[in-house]
Amino acid sequence: MDPKTLTIALAGNPNSGKTTIFNNITGTRQKVGNWPGVTVEKKEGSVTKYGYKLKIVDLPGTYSLTPFSIEEIVARNYVLDEKPDVVIDIIDASNLERSLYLATQLRELDCKVLFALNMADLARARGMKIDDQKLSELLSVPVVFTVGNKNEGIDKLLEKTIELAESQIGSAKVRKVKYSKDIEDSIGRLQQFIQDKTDGSLPYNIRWTAIKLLEDDKIVKERIVEKAENNGQQILQVARTLRKRLEDLFDDEPQIVMTDERYGFIAGIIKEVQTTSIKQRIDISRNIDLLLTNRFIGFPIFVFFIWAMFQLTFTLGEHPVGSLETGIGWLSGIIEVVLPDGLFEDLIVDGIIAGVGSVIVFLPNILILFFCIALFEDTGYMARSAFLMDKIMHLIGLHGKSFIPMLMGFGCNVPAIMAARTLESEKDRILTILITPFMSCSAKLPVYIILAGAFFGVKAGTVIFSIYLLGVVLSIITGRLFRSTLLKGADAPFVMELPPYRVPMLKSLLIHMWDRSKIFLKKMGKVILVGSVIVWALSVFPRNIQYSVDYATKKNKLIASYNSQMQNVSEADKQQLEIEKDAAVAALEKARQSEQAERSFIGHMGKAIAPLFAPLGIDWRGGVALLTGFVAKEIVISTMGVLHAVGKEDESEALKKALSASGMTPLSALAMMVFVLLYLPCLATTTAIKKETGSYKWMLFSIGYSTSIAWIMAFLVYQGGKLLGYN
């Protein structure tokens, strides 16, 4: 017989150690962090224990179930609609009073709740003693002590959970928050009215529904209208009248009074269950903050951390990148030998391996970057960065939390855009998503390196830095512009916890890092595989090209001429001629490839749009390269390589020469870099934008906006530079 399945939801405040407990129970890989609200997705895992199959759902970390942020809506809707067998509320024992707010809200929802008093060791160290028996009695909720990061109390927690799931508690027995007489009175009357009108057909607890209606809860109001049909309007009408009465009575909105009273109720509980010893232990977190958020050295330290992160990402990441490139080259080499020459070999080597390889190559950088970000999150430094940066971000019309996605944008826009979910207000989120692509991602760096290296020599570093800076400046301008036009409106409240610093667990850091990189690899892998095959196909078809020269005949003639020369010369000269012959044949082949590319579909497309790029000083080859860059920015370089008939070996050096030879000037190279910095986000980023904003409208807007800005800026750089006498 199959074991019985129980669904268990984990709820709790951000930083309560919820995710650690989730990982401990399920062993599933999942994000753990100290950055408030890092767990945004609903995550599931299963485990078979005590003869039951337990389906564990990790709800987003929230402070409340008032549906203001996405996290809160997700969490509440899950409990309401999916009706899990048990909800475990993970409570930070050292933060009992605030944690109980969510707990009382869960208590009001008609679900089976169990409290896990987590980080009990920390609470004890802080001199707090919690009477779990008393707490359990007062709220009629089973209470278990746990220490998530030491895996203590987890078995007991599951045991109690199953016990609770199988028990029959009538809701009458359940003790809930008791409000003051006037409010209780209104709740009672509304409850009775709903009962009469719906005849128990409502899928929600009636007391809870009444409370939410008195609190003017938008979502519950909508649902009532939907579920109770014509009676719904009547119910809302009665609720409105009762609300009005309470408002007059308290001279304040009922939801405010009720929040107050809930905390009053909690204060009563705290008095009975928690004793804090006078002995004040030294608070390590506060001491660390004396340094890290110090008025004078807080910023320098912050800048140092960010600098160190980039150094690690790009310098440490460089070494494995080299070996990966070699490995990929080696693989292509083998396949070229194994497979017969032809279209299929081309598809594998030039389409798939080259395309996917170009992404894999960045894996070391991305792993390191995500490791650093996980480190910031898990230690609690991320919240401090918001503390330091909020003033600056606020000037752009953004939230301190927006700094993180924007920072991550320097690594890869895709996870960066996903990280924008931590923002509560939709406007902040959309704005952050729109400006993040201006943060120059790591895939654009190879393009700058080649172009700046070829045309700016020793000044290449400064030029690349300026390009990055330009991106930042434009993001600020865009932010201000959109904030005052498209996305006008009040800022989201900036009330954010500064969690205590914690020593990160290596396991959690690695899980964290790998999870994000996996998303990157998976998404990118698929999109880029398809994209590279398409680009490859566009560049090799049509096959029956009328070449300007008959390459085959020319090649045969060339070989014949060398062969005849070689007949009557010395052995040494013969070898010399042999080398010359190979070089000449290779040059001819490259010329043929170049012409082939020019006459391919993509070549025609490039020529068609060439007039658009001409004012920017970019020739049709550059145009084609930029088109292919939609798949992934680093492809720009490989396309240029093909179009300039540069062989695979020593690509960058040869490409630099070819670029200079093709008439590209430092100025047009600069214009091209500016264009690459700003123009339409890559395929994967566009997909992420669509997914995270939930609309094609914003995706298309982002594409249109960034490309127009790119064109304008590149135009200004090129034409302005020419006017100033540069070339």
Binding site: Y63, D289, T293, G298, H394, F494, V495
Partner: protein, 76 residues
């Protein structure tokens, strides 16, 4: 009577009233920053905004403009 935003680092006070618009006010209250609560100003950020408070035993940050919606008394 003073505004929370007028308090200096290291001062403690009792909250008298939390004002502000709907969502902001509710959010602040839900984080436990409400009438009768004791609040300690831990520090201002290097750019003087936001400020870090200790409320109900935990650390929380508020923008100065938000703190200006909160009236306190008995500053010490």
């Amino acid at each position: 009577m003073l505004l929370l935003s007028e308090m200096r680092e290291g001062q403690t006070a009792t909250i008298v009233r939390v004002g502000g618009n709907g969502i902001l006010r509710r959010r602040i209250l839900e984080m436990g920053i409400l009438k009768g609560t004791e609040v300690y100003v831990e520090k201002y950020a290097p750019l003087k905004d936001p400020l870090e408070l200790i409320v109900k035993g935990y650390h929380v940050m508020l923008r100065v403009e938000e703190a200006a919606q909160i009236t306190v008394e008995n500053v010490r």
